[in-house]
Amino acid sequence: MTAFDSARFGLSQHPPKHVEQGRTAGSSGAYETSRGMKIYIYGIVDSNDGIDESVYGLKGAGVYNIPYRDIGVVASDLNGQIGDVTQDSAVEHERIVEKLMINCAVLPVKFRTVFASREDVLSMMENYYNDFRANLDRLRDKVEFGIKIIWPGEAIKARLDIDYNKDNASVNPAGPDLDSRLADSPAKRFLMKAFKNYKIDKEFKEKADGCIAVVDRLFSRVAVEKRLEKLGTDNLLLSAVYLVDKNRQHDFREAFEHTRRVHCGLKYLFSGPWPPYNFVSLPRRSQPLRDGSWSGSACDKAPQPEGVPRGNAI
């Protein structure tokens, strides 16, 4: 067992000698990585203690904690360019985040987030400290589950199309004589076709909303927060992530099994528990880019292997 796995946050009381304890953004003589060395970060933790040197991250580099006030950034040195960090390393990144989660509240940072220097990291911490602190408190002892649902969307749309053609009056509130008004010129025929697509699309979305509401109700009873994205494609009805208390993971699983039994005409993809990648909520502020290798907010959504919603919560 490494010190990382040990009881107190997995973080040792005494940092490795290369980590300067308690340094702040404003301090002089900032720690510098060696020439060409950058800092790769894994997450923000609610601890400013150091980490045992025997924990290794990307490219076998030692993982350490850069403390700022009562929290810290878990990082390792990166020799080379961020372009050298391929998707294959995502598993390593995830492994470190999960290790941290065993005993810490963690804000997982997006895969391939790199800072040019320790000063930049501390500057980011100074800018975002209050936000990080609030998120750490909110996400402590929480995990994330992903649910994706496929429904026969194309078939439903085809059915709506048939229904529209068969019984226009029942689908079209504008009345049965609308078609004749629209159909006597190319321009009107164009508008008629657009109107039909509009009506079918509208009804399709209403059906989707109804179906999502039924399913979501079951999961929402257990979850504390959620992010839903509907109709990624006509068939991909729902891509959702739910934030769940660690001690209610079993209940969430039960809710899924129940949903699958009751709504057996749908196809499901269930995954989790994950670190709460999709629930870190930070204001968007511009950050200085010194080497152009880092973009986006300091702590952002990281990719999940099975894909995650991209906003557009409904």
């Binding site: 999960e98 657009a194 557009n312």
Partner: protein, 113 residues
Amino acid sequence: MTMNRTVETDAPETFIDEINQSRTGFGKKIDANPKDVEKGLAKLVLTLIELIRKLMEKQAMRRVEGGSLTDEEIERIGETLMKLEDKMQELKEVFGLEDEELNLNLGPLGDLM
């Protein structure tokens, strides 16, 4: 020690297809390199025009649905939308752009269209 994770599905291939399809165009950036600057700019401009065109079309559909348009107005709106679509098609062909390329990811706001 890691989390006791489960990833399960009754239709893995279907999910792979649908997820890939849902990501088409996502994350693509404006291609504004010196060799292809015209196409990059055209993509940005046409994306914005397409957004406006779709908003106009939606507004027109609402008015048709509401039954408040005269025959002349229906004719005029239909012609305008038809010509707009034809012109967009022409411009897309000129710059070698596909429909799914005329979209932008707005980060936390999701996709433009």
